[in-house]
């Protein structure tokens, strides 16, 4: 499967955030999306997910045009930045809604999930909940997954585990993953292709050093 987002235009009033941005992601690959604060990374993901109305956007997964939420199940899933699991839901109920078998059984026995299965989401700490959210999305039905700052509030050792999981889901389960985070080293570790959002457009990078040319890293940075 292939996600193709083309001619993405988004203005906030007079301010142009995206002008003709283009992004693709195929199953089996991890696309790392980096860029400065406020450059429009989250906006791009939200437009692709049809969470935000765009001034122009063509989004398709294989031959299916994504027009609204209705086309998303079984195609695209999105991990937003902030806590999005309903407070009143138990973790087990969220798993049932999101994860097909055998993933559901695997996750029910997972060390990060198992102790909290029968707790409601508001009874789980923010960091633990973030880990569960990542697992939930990565094991959802959707073959293409968009992750917006998945490493937020996660301990370093668990970040490594999330990276391993992202790679495994891409390579073994054949998912396509778009990943954006300010922790560019972790994005670089997880990604099979790196793109940068600069001046309202998306550019593919060949080498890490190019991050300096795009003004994302200072010249003194060690890459």
């Amino acid at each position: 499967m292939k996600l193709r987002a083309d001619s993405i235009h988004k203005y906030f009033g007079e301010a142009a955030v995206l002008t003709g941005a283009y992004l693709t992601c195929e199953t089996g690959g991890v696309v790392g999306l980096v860029g400065r604060n406020g450059c429009g990374k989250s906006t791009l993901l939200r437009v692709i997910m049809r969470l935000l109305p765009a001034d122009g956007a063509f989004v398709e997964v294989d031959d299916t045009y994504i027009k609204s939420a209705r086309q998303l199940p079984g195609r695209l899933a999105y991990l937003p930045q902030d806590g999005w699991l309903p407070d009143h839901l138990r973790i087990r109920q969220a798993l049932r809604l999101y994860c097909p078998q055998p993933y559901r059984s695997q996750l029910e026995g997972h060390a990060w999930v198992q102790p909290f299965l029968d707790r409601k989401c508001y009874q789980v700490s923010a960091g633990q909940l973030r880990l569960i959210e990542c697992l939930l999305i990565l094991h959802s039905r959707a073959p293409i997954v968009l992750l917006d700052e998945p490493f937020n509030g996660i301990a370093p050792i668990q970040k490594e585990e999330i990276i391993r999981l992202i790679r495994a889901q891409a390579e073994q389960a054949g998912k396509g993953i778009v990943l954006t985070d300010h922790d560019y080293r972790h994005v670089w570790q997880a990604a099979t292709r790196l793109v940068v959002l600069k001046d309202r457009n998306v550019y593919t990078l060949q080498k890490k050093e190019e991050l300096k040319n795009f003004g994302y890293l200072p010249d003194s940075a060690w890459v």
């Binding site: 997910m49 049809r50 969470l51 609204s68 939420a69 209705r70 086309q71 998303l72 199940p73 899933a77 999105y78 937003p80 902030d82 806590g83 999005w84 699991l85 309903p86 407070d87 009143h88 839901l89 109920q93 969220a94 049932r96 809604l97 999101y98 999305i137 959802s140 959707a142």
Partner: protein
């Protein structure tokens, strides 16, 4: 089936508070009649059923707005991934509250 279960989880958060306050509104609306001793034998209930139904219809929409638009807008993402957009969820709340309002009128 997944979407129906998700809709139930979305709506069940609104049902209890809306129903509780509607019942209170229905009881309060009968208070002046009861206090003045104006009730007749044919209409001696302690609660006004039409008021409960109308209040429920209105309050479930208000609770939807307060809970999901003001307090927890990020929770929309959970349902969006399952194919349930914001407009879909508003429409569901409206239809659901209309059905419950009619049922209250019919059953009580």
């Amino acid at each position: 089936m997944t979407q129906l279960i998700a809709l139930w989880h979305f709506e069940r958060r609104l049902i209890l508070p809306a129903a509780l306050i509607s019942v209170i509104a229905g009881a309060i609306s009968r208070l002046p009649v009861q206090l003045a001793g104006l009730e007749n034998a044919a209409d001696s209930t302690w609660i006004s059923v039409p008021t409960v139904a109308r209040s429920y219809l209105l309050l479930s929409l208000v609770f939807h707005g307060v809970t999901y638009e003001l307090r927890k807008p990020q929770e929309y993402h959970f349902y969006h991934n399952l194919g349930l957009g914001r407009i879909h969820l508003w429409a569901t709340t409206a239809v659901f509250s209309l059905i419950i309002g009619l049922l209250i009128n019919l059953i009580l």
